[in-house]
């Protein structure tokens, strides 16, 4: 699945904030699990870094209290959808 423009922006944020120099943002599959070793192999501290970056970039504050945090962080597609919905809900 090709990335949507929103997913492209989120992919760039993730690659930038985690310094994944060897990962091209456009190569991240929107449906692949990011936190598994065969995905990007991210861990909980990466999730913390991503949450901080999303707060700075989108003014959206992620919380473990959000319905299904694990699913939100699971894939680029889910994360982008959640953040976009939060931004739209505010507008």
């Amino acid at each position: 699945m090709p990335q949507t423009p929103e997913q492209q922006r989120m992919a760039k944020l993730i690659v930038d904030v985690l310094n994944l120099e060897d990962v091209a943002p456009e190569s991240i599959d929107p449906d692949a699990i990011m936190f598994e070793d065969d995905g990007l192999g991210l861990d909980s501290i990466d999730a913390l870094e991503i949450a901080v970056a999303i707060a700075e970039e989108y003014d959206v504050h992620l919380s473990a209290e959000d319905e299904g945090t694990k699913e939100i962080f699971a894939t680029l597609g889910n994360l982008t959808q959640h953040v976009t919905e939060e931004v739209n809900a505010r507008a």
Partner: protein, 445 residues
């Protein structure tokens, strides 16, 4: 040997707040009694409860049944499986859908109030494991009396006279630090434990705001990694009375910023896996450590031997210290971190501090290839996370701060260091990172 209460709080006292509402010490006592009856027989219990209340109930129930709780230090199935391979007669308990063995909600819950009973001070109630910074994992048994001495002094360190405290921890209960500084404190002091989500900065903000409604002051028990995230994403002051930090060195400048922003004292805890928390300092204003009163400290050169009545024998600390006035100690560095280059001695910890303090450096570590079992040329190397910097910029910045013999050869830029969830850098992971980024060839050629 003497008996010590499991929950030394009045039955009506509030002990937990969170998604399940406020819960009293008596309710916890009743849940502990129910759980203790229903736990499957076993010698060891791996406690994988995410909710701090259920973790506490399961741990106390296991102790009442004479079962030793294993603290895996990590959340994963793999960590639990590794423990089960080394410990026969082990069961698990969890409070979430992925529970593989006993599920806490199926065996406990409901309304009640009871005292939980007492345990002998020499009963082993928990077993923790070293994180592996200095080698292979090692088991460390925790007698109930030792944990109770700790909960007494840690509580005194935090308490406002006569005041109720809320407590938010970002570290899990199955890590020794979270176990001591969240769960155990609530069993003996006027502390209400936040049991809801607390991992992300927004969760911490929500938790402290909610606790502030019922308690006059709140303590945050956390790590330097979480504090960095908090500073970045929460510009406003949180209603905090104290911040407790452990697991990795806290930058004094960061401590000062935190104190100014939240008007809260920032306490840093020094500990070792064999015993647990040993000493504290107020990092923003004090470079020296004060050991907790239950420990008798004997000095032999730069080594310290620590003894306590609840310990079977003295424990020699792996780190080196120098005595300072007022019965306090300056941490010189880890003994394993001591390096000698060109006849000069230096501590890797100090070098790491200098490296991490450079502008643009996000994270960094010096290593001695020979200590990692790699070919060496008598020089140190460094892995550095500094996205905006070049190797030559970093080297010239370092030149003013460290003796030139300790200049890393090579200094290698990397994307990240393989730190664990508690900021530690296990030796094996560091070794692999060096091999991956520098190569197996002699370093420093």
């Amino acid at each position: 040997m003497y008996a010590l209460e499991l929950i030394a709080r009045p039955e009506t006292a509030m002990i937990a707040a969170g998604p399940h509402g406020d819960l009293s010490a008596g309710q916890l006592g009743a849940d502990v009694a129910t759980l203790a009856e229903q736990l499957a027989p076993a010698r060891f219990l791996i406690n994988r409860c995410e909710d701090r209340y259920w973790f506490a109930a399961s741990f106390l129930a296991a102790a009442l049944r004479g079962q030793i709780t294993l603290l895996p230090g990590q959340r994963t199935d793999e960590a639990a499986d590794a423990l089960r391979r080394d410990h026969r007669d082990t069961r698990e308990i969890a409070d979430h859908e992925q529970a593989r063995d006993q599920h806490v909600a199926l065996v406990a819950g409901g309304n009640g109030s009871a005292r939980a009973g007492a345990l002998a001070s020499d009963q082993i109630v928990a077993r923790a494991f070293t994180s592996g910074s200095t080698g292979a994992p090692q088991a460390h048994d925790k007698p109930w009396g030792l944990l109770c001495q700790g909960r007494a002094t840690h509580g005194e360190l935090l308490a406002l006279p006569g005041a109720e405290l809320g407590l938010v921890a970002t570290v899990p209960s199955w890590h020794m630090y979270g176990f001591e500084w969240a769960l155990l404190l609530a069993t003996a002091h006027p502390v209400t434990l936040w049991c809801g989500p607390s991992f992300f900065p927004q969760d911490v903000a929500r938790a402290t705001a909610q606790l502030a409604q019922s308690t006059p002051a709140t303590v945050l028990v956390t790590t330097p990694v979480h504090l960095r995230a908090l500073l970045k994403s929460l510009p406003d002051a949180l209603p905090l009375h104290r911040v407790v930090s452990a697991t990795a060195p806290l930058d004094p400048e960061q401590a000062k910023t935190l104190e100014a922003r939240h008007r809260a004292e920032v306490l840093e805890i020094y500990g070792c896996s064999e015993i647990g928390s040993l000493a504290s300092r107020r990092t923003a204003s004090d470079a020296h450590w004060s050991f907790f009163p239950e420990f008798a400290v004997q000095r032999e050169g730069e080594r310290l031997h620590v003894q306590a009545s609840a310990l079977p024998g003295p424990v020699t600390l792996a780190d080196r210290f120098a005595p300072t006035p007022g019965n306090r100690y300056e941490l010189l560095g880890r003994t394993a971190d001591l390096v000698k280059i060109g006849g000069k001695r230096e501590s890797l910890s100090r070098l790491n501090r200098e490296l991490c303090a450079l502008p643009g450096v996000v994270d960094g570590v010096f290593y001695d290839p020979e200590q990692l079992g790699l070919p060496g040329t008598g020089r140190l190397g460094a892995l550095v996370v500094a996205p905006q910097s070049t190797v030559s910029e970093l080297k010239s910045a370092l030149a003013g701060r460290i003796d030139p013999v300790f200049q890393p050869r090579p200094l290698t830029l990397v994307q990240a260091l393989p730190r664990t969830g508690t900021s530690k850098l296990p030796r094996a992971a560091l070794r692999q990172a060096v091999i991956d980024s520098v190569g197996g060839a002699p370093v420093g050629a």
